[in-house]
């Protein structure tokens, strides 16, 4: 029988998870954990329930809350995707996060699955990951050694490997509020529009300056490498260049060359590479089309 703990504070949760004698695993929405537990007939010595912790809930605006000094939208790690997709701050300032949240599982899953769990589970196909890369989010981690803030882009070390230390948790996600005029795009390709695990999932953020040139271009992509990752080559192909067919072609070629997709049960490497190139091309062309 598992020992179960329902901590009353984040501090208690961290103390429990940091106790090697206990060997406890953290649980939140359980939408990944319970699938594996059942399929593998696996059980846990101890579990620590994070869902009830008020410190991990809520979505709020924080002035000067990020490392860069600007305002951030701060999202508690145990926020469900239902809460995220309905949140007015997210919808207004981070529309691609609301869009991604609405594509993660279906209603039943969105009511339970949390954004912190989506990141900590570290699937290369996690749909919130590319969005948080494109928005250059930071993670507030809390563990036995205290609190630290890390850029999300450095979080994934390898397939299903993160920089979370033993006993460490994701407490909050800080997303810098994009400056007005920032374009945000999200596109997911799966076998159906709902409830699908992505074959390719792409998010983009950038500004189109008054001179027509693209600046601050960031692409985040999932399902085409062992980890969710930025597309640095495609970003460089766009940075400081006009939105248009030539830039779109260069960015698409760069994206196809810099990813390492695999053949698996959901798709093939060749399909993923081709679709990614087309999505990058289309997003850049759309920037040219909606010149404001």
């Amino acid at each position: 029988m598992s020992r179960a703990f329902r901590p009353r504070s984040l501090q208690e949760a961290v103390a429990l998870l940091g106790d090697p004698e206990l060997g406890a695993v953290p649980v939140a929405g359980c939408t990944d954990l319970m699938v594996l537990d059942h399929a593998m007939r696996r059980s846990h010595r101890a579990v620590v329930d994070l869902l009830g912790l008020a410190e991990l809930r809520g979505i709020r605006w924080a002035e000067g809350g990020g490392s860069a000094g600007g305002p951030v939208v701060e999202i508690g790690a145990a926020s469900t995707f239902s809460a995220i997709r309905a949140d007015p701050l997210v919808r207004m300032h981070l529309p691609i996060l609301a869009e991604a949240a609405a594509t993660i599982g279906a209603w039943q899953i969105q009511n339970r699955a949390t954004i912190g769990g989506n990141l900590a589970n570290a699937s290369p196909a996690a749909d919130s990951a590319p969005v948080l890369l494109a928005l250059d989010a930071e993670l507030v981690l809390v563990g036995p050694a205290g609190e630290r803030v890390v850029p999300y882009r450095s979080f994934h070390l390898g397939y299903r490997k993160t920089l979370l230390a033993p006993g460490e948790l994701i407490a909050r996600i800080r997303v810098p509020v994009p400056v007005p005029g920032t374009r945000q795009r999200f596109h997911k390709v799966g076998t159906r529009q709902a409830q699908a695990i992505s074959k390719v999932v792409l998010a983009m953020c950038c500004r189109r300056e008054p001179d027509g040139l693209l600046r601050g271009v960031r692409f985040g992509v999932g399902s085409v490498a062992p980890v969710p990752r930025r597309l640095r080559g495609a970003e460089q192909a766009c940075e400081g260049r006009p939105a248009g067919a030539a830039t779109a072609e260069r960015a698409a070629a760069a994206a196809a060359a810099e990813v390492h997709p695999i053949d698996d049960v959901r798709s093939t490497a060749a399909y993923r590479r081709e679709v990614l190139a087309r999505l990058v091309r289309r997003m850049v062309l759309e920037l040219a089309a909606d010149a404001g």
Partner: protein, 175 residues
Amino acid sequence: MQEAIAVSDTVRFTVNGEPRCWQGEPMARLLDVLRYELGLTGTKEGCGEGECGACTVLLDGEPVCACLVPMLQCEGRAVQTIEGLGGADRLEPVQRAFVEAGGVQCGACTPGLVLTAWALLQREPRPDRARMREALAGNLCRCTGYERILRALEHTIAARQGGGAPAAGTGEATP
């Protein structure tokens, strides 16, 4: 300190309004407790991995997959299953509309679909088809092709607005 916050192996919750006091493995699936311990077999197991929605129940009014909810997290919460919605002698309007519109064939998906549909219509009185499709996307049906299920929801909405006029039927023409 740890003992002070350790959860006892007792979970107090309600099922269809009835208080329950349950003891057992904290990571047991709500689905198994409902079916095998409480005998509420209206909740079906399909895939067991949160994909098909056959095990949908309402947790504090929200649709969830009972196969992915550990008993630990049911403490103090209200679970509603299809048995709590209505039986053959007192069908909810949405249940009657499923029957009349031909939205039920083999029946495996029906309890979950009815609960999701009911929860949607509780929140949004007049969802359009796109919204219905989105809300029901986590409930797979391999018999009906969904068309008659969507019609059942439309009939429920129409009946509500038309003072209960039964608009349900199996005719192929979409109103």
